[in-house]
Symmetry: C2
Subunit: 347 residues, 2 copies
């Protein structure tokens, strides 16, 4: 058995369940992870990971703890076996909906993971928190996590500030679903002869979805309406690149919304860092160019940095910090909760 400290990071969300095993360098311990861990991993190194595409089900009691455990424990055992690893020192689970749908996880996971894997320390985190930890580690600043949805999270290491993340009907302003929806509306305005329409976007609607009259029937019966809307966002970027001013205007408004959310949560102070993470920021220059301008306007005191890692990296980093007694990200119900239990004999 290889010696050292072993930790597990978990990322559970709409695109499935991912589990990573991490190794901490020998001698890692209280305080040793601070200062130099620019990536936020506390020096943790991922030695293996498992990705399961099917999302963990949400039932009446919220995220289904039993189903999550039924997948997580065998995955962890496999990773530990393949790495020749010893007992886990800590596990961090980042999950979408932790604040509102995490009751079953909170009630079940600490005891269940102690029994099954002998884990003494467990962190439960909102997926926005693991996105933050993956992007900025344990440094104060702001992270915007954006894909189909959008949320901004900031911390001064005393507490968390959140902006948006309200979903596609109440907000997620500037997200993939927001951009796609605005693009579709502009296409249909052109179809109707209303002002604010875009013929190039209408042409893309016909190419992607077929006759505009069929679009409502393709969208409304779907359960994944936000994803359908977001699927049109790359078409908006494409039309903007090709010179359509309406599409460019949609992206400029999205950029302003993103910068507003970042500014609402970023702690004041010199040389703050803001990181952007998630699939939306792979949209490219049609979005990034107005976004840089908007961030410079709304957050003149902050520096935009590249996200060091993704939410799974963030989960590993939280587990590593928990294992070494160096967790500095603020604990707050629904955001980041950590429990320590005496290890028992494995059953």
């Amino acid at each position: 058995m290889t010696s050292g400290t072993w930790v597990l990071g978990v990322d559970s969300g709409g695109s499935g369940l991912r589990v990573a095993l991490g190794a901490l360098p020998r001698g890692s311990g209280s305080g040793s992870g601070s200062g130099s861990d620019a990536g936020g991993g506390g020096g943790v190194r991922a030695v293996g990971s498992v990705a399961l595409a099917e999302p963990v089900r949400t039932g009446a009691g919220g995220i289904d703890a039993r189903q999550l455990l039924g997948r997580l424990v065998p995955a962890a055992e496999g990773l530990l076996r393949r790495a020749g690893a010893g007992r886990l020192a800590a596990v961090a689970v980042g999950a979408a909906g932790m604040a509102t749908l995490g009751d079953e996880l909170r009630a079940t996971l600490p005891q269940a993971l102690r029994r099954s894997l002998g884990v003494p320390r467990l962190a439960l985190a909102a997926d926005a928190v693991t996105a933050y930890a993956g992007a900025l580690g344990q440094r104060p600043g702001a992270v915007v996590a954006a894909g189909t949805g959008l949320i901004a999270l900031g911390t001064d290491l005393r507490g968390w500030s959140r902006a948006d993340g309200w979903g596609h009907l109440l907000g997620d302003c500037g997200s993939g679903a927001w951009i796609g929806r605005a693009g579709l509306e502009a296409a249909l305005r052109a179809h109707d002869g209303r002002p604010g329409g875009s013929e190039p976007l209408l042409a893309r609607v016909r190419a992607v979805f077929g006759p505009p009259a069929a679009l409502p029937g393709l969208l409304y019966p779907r359960a994944d309406r936000p994803a359908v809307l977001a699927s049109f966002a790359p078409e908006v970027a494409r039309c903007a690149t090709e010179g359509d001013t309406v599409a460019a205007g949609v992206l400029a408004r999205a950029a302003r919304h993103i910068a507003e959310a970042a500014a609402a949560v970023c702690p004041r102070g010199e040389d703050r860092e803001v990181a952007l993470t998630g699939g939306l920021f792979r949209t490219g220059e049609p979005l990034l160019s107005p976004l840089r301008a908007a961030l410079a306007e709304h957050l003149p005191y902050a520096r935009v940095v590249t996200a060091a890692g993704d939410p799974l990296d963030g989960s590993l980093a939280v587990a590593a910090a928990l294992a070494t007694g160096t967790l500095r990200l603020p604990r707050e119900p629904g955001m980041l909760e950590a429990t320590t239990l005496q290890p028992t004999t494995r059953i």
Copy 2:
């Protein structure tokens, strides 16, 4: 049995099924309804009506023709019996979703109504067409029908023009759902500390829905999300009345969208009429005042008139025009279709 000409109007939509029996004055016939029928009813007088609150189900084949018939025929028989009326000369059915969900109705209703009620003439119309006929009769112009959703329909009596009506994710700009959604977004912007927020609207969210954090859980699992959004529109009007500039801004933008939709469909020409119909226009002055200004700007050549009646009145008017050979509203697939069948002996 009372002599005269009897017609039936039907209005089927999200709020249920309504059936009205109408009587035409003696001597009504080809041409006699033209000219003076300002209300569009062709002189038809409603002698009784039935309202069934449960909406007709939509199945794989679209609007369930069998369920509609199962309710419509007994309701019609009851109305005819109570009025001591003779055989129906025509029936008009206005239904939400006729264009995309009306295949079963088109295939089934003409023969079924001939067999069951001996009806020789049947009109099938989109609910927007019966809303038009109820509001403006058979005169050229434009009608905006708005409640939870919003659609504008115009005609020069040669064809129909439609604008918006795309539903709450793709358009319905300026509708109840649109206003409510914009109001909720403004409330949550205030909650987050993002620009464009409204503290008065946030206070109304707390009063109506409870803690803002619970709002996504109250909205997204619901099947009637547009209605939930629209339920907040009166709160936006209330805050605007009390001086909130953000709420007033939402209503001003809604007014512009409504005027844009009306202008997109209104035929050019002198002294055109535009009518507003539906629950949204009972919102009162906070909406109507900017709407009058927007209509004057976007449709300077049109006169805003009071809607003479509702979609059920419109359905009766279409049936009356069909019975008397005076139907002037344009026939167009999915919008207004009329069939004539030789009456057979009732089975």
